[in-house]
Symmetry: C2
Subunit: 430 residues, 2 copies
């Protein structure tokens, strides 16, 4: 995102200011580049945040999401536009009227997921409606995975390419969706067993588990009355069945501190979730408890992840989720040369204006260059960068709190993403 | 508890004042009895609560637990003793020093569980210590069940004899205990599958699931260093495996509101937790999903409970837990003539002063008379009543915040319970 804006700045009268709590990090982003100034920035410094926002033309906030409303309020006060890749919070939503009065655009959910998912879905949905069709089912999956040529011996076909803590906690709470006109609810402890399999020609099989609340998209995409709505996350086949082992054990629980963590090994961590039985190994107890084959693929993935090792965890305290994250990070951190992969896939079922059932699939696959220029960072950052440019150039000319579901926003962003090599391919399959 | 105190009041200079938010209810308790006055009482009325507490010699608070600290503060202010059957909250604990300064006793956890469990356990623990023994394992279970002659066709052998909401939510959160020197943690979704079976001569088999935090009893009973500590709840065999069906479905979740509850039947409630499949019945889908025999005992209990019926739920909104409670109440409410049963069982393993391993079991079984005079109400209320009498008579002469783990409290209470027919029988089994 920063590189994109710096590149775009070369031909126009822009200056990019990159602020970070770590000056080193900010300088690193700007090193050797024209029209880019790095500075140390502390969001909790009221004087500084006012000054920086007042002096800018537009603000891109990549801060932790809880700070966005603080920035947004000042943006409204000083009449500056703002772009984020985060979900619209209630505090953000509350600024809508004021932003409109000040002629300010607060554009959120403009990354990958949320972001490109909204844009690419609304593009097809609008098209179906424009052609007189009626949407009956919408399913959508996104996954941050590994390029197939990266780490081929990793049986999970997965590493952390996104906030590891959020990956460990993913799916907690209740899952809601609609299937054939019926509301469906899946509790967390069943989520990773109720997966869907999807084949994407050229890329193979994926398994998807449901995201938390698909129902909120009924209003966001204006889909009330639709028979099926389901949003999910992609992993490679076998991942979910194995991840479910951690869920079943209680190893992803983030609600309590464990005991004697300073003396804990990977192996005793796992054993603390198993019954006492002095005769059986931890492996045997686990396999028996969760009905796994002792030499099957799930046990192979778990062994590869090192969870049975007598290695000290290396923390002095922690919740199960924090300890599990710490253990997995030892194997699941990207190496410098690793390439990640983003896969997004939508399925639209609709009846066309002749009342004939039709089905369209829309697919985006993007591959990273290395552990820094990941597909994740590009697909999250580029839409933000493009939106920023379009707002500055007044090609997007809205006020208030928005997400990219309007054609005037998603149209030009998708178009430019396309020219940058991030193309959603749409295919009528029936 | 009220009947006991009224009875005791007849021979001495006491007057019992029974206050309730419902005057009818209070009057009902006092009807036709001497030395007993009913009045309408609203804890949120500051003037009234001050007046009532100031004019009393001792306060028994059977209010919802959150109100106890409000009462306790005034008790300390006016120098009045107080008795409750509830767990000591942090707010209550904070009053310890002030209570001591004022010469006031705030005695809590003086019912059944917590209450008689503390007393009967500490009696044996103190005895083992007095005789030079060392406790190595402590397990303790309590259950509010049905008398075997009540409702013999009820395959759950269970009805609500305690706050139904708490029964539906029981076990949520994390379970912690120590087994043979190892900390063990069980997540909620595994709790009802990791039960222990206990046989009590004369009463048959029980199954126990673990209570939330057994570790806190390490300090309460001064058991640091013990190899095994486990506290649990008794049900009749088969109950837990069937209750687990609700847990696995997510039907005990209390964190979200369901959709379209006003149109919901028992059957559609259950179906909302199952996959869409137009070819199979709800029964078949459930049995298949949770690996139950279609004609097995779990399905029999579920059918008996009416959960597959096309009966409207009869609520306009609710969480899954609220809806499940409402459905179960239709079958699990005590009929006027039903008798409940309380079972409490402790197991103590210790080495005696000759270093020989020993084992003692301690058992209390009490049966109710009908749906009003339940074993539950007696075993919760009588210890409170007895403690109140003993404090008034200065036979318990302590100040500060206490629970009945000191011999000077539990000794005379257990003694009187014994004379009233509630006797813990202790037996050396090895």
């Amino acid at each position: 995102m920063i590189d994109y804006l710096i590149r775009e700045a070369q031909n126009v009268q822009w200056e990019i200011r990159v602020g970070d709590y770590s000056l080193d990090l900010a300088q690193d982003k700007c090193k050797g580049k024209d029209k880019c100034v790095a500075f140390e920035f502390d969001i909790n410094n009221e004087t500084q945040r006012k000054e920086e926002i007042e002096n800018a033309d537009i603000i891109v906030s990549m801060l932790p999401a809880k700070f966005h409303p603080v920035v947004a309020e000042l943006c409204v006060e000083f009449g500056k536009h703002m772009v984020t890749a985060s979900y619209v919070s209630d505090d953000m939503k509350a600024l809508d009227q004021k932003a409109k009065e000040k002629g300010v655009l607060l554009l959120n959910e403009c990354g990958l997921d949320p972001g490109i998912d909204h844009m690419s879905a609304m593009k097809v949905i609008d098209q179906i409606r424009d052609e007189g069709g009626e949407l009956t089912a919408f399913e959508s999956f996104t996954g941050g995975l590994l390029s197939p040529d990266t780490d081929p011996e990793n049986p999970w076909e997965y590493k952390f390419t996104w906030n590891p803590r959020n990956v460990v906690l993913a799916g907690q709470g209740i899952v809601k969706f609609i299937q054939e006109g019926t509301y469906k609810f899946i509790p967390y402890h069943k989520l990773f067993r109720r997966t869907e399999q999807v084949h994407i020609p050229g890329y193979g099989y994926f398994e998807g588990y449901a995201n938390r609340d698909s129902l909120k998209y009924l209003d966001v995409y204006n889909l009330r009355g639709i028979k099926t709505i389901y949003r999910g996350t992609f992993r490679r086949p076998g991942f979910c069945r194995t991840w479910d082992v951690f869920v079943q054990l209680g190893a992803t629980d983030d609600t309590y501190q464990m005991e004697a963590v300073d003396q804990m090994t990977h192996r005793t961590f796992i054993n603390s979730f198993l019954s006492y039985n002095p005769h059986d190994s931890v492996e045997l107890k686990l396999a028996h408890y969760l009905n796994l084959e002792l030499e099957g693929p799930e046990m192979h993935r778990l062994k590869w992840a090192g969870i049975f090792d007598n290695t000290p965890v290396g923390l002095s305290e922690g919740t199960p989720a924090q300890i599990l994250e710490h253990i997995l990070n030892k194997k699941w951190s990207l190496k410098p040369e690793d390439k990640d992969m983003i896969v997004m896939w939508h399925k639209f079922e609709f009846t066309d204006k002749q009342n004939k059932p039709q089905e369209v699939h829309s697919t985006l696959v993007a591959t990273g260059e290395d552990a820094i220029d990941t597909a994740m960072s590009k697909t999250v950052g580029l839409p933000v960068g493009i939106a920023t440019k379009l707002i500055l150039n007044k090609q997007i000319d809205l006020t208030g709190v928005h997400i990219p579901i309007k054609k005037e926003i998603y149209g030009p962003i998708l178009e430019e993403l396309d020219t940058l090599g991030f193309e959603m391919s749409e295919k009528l399959v029936s």
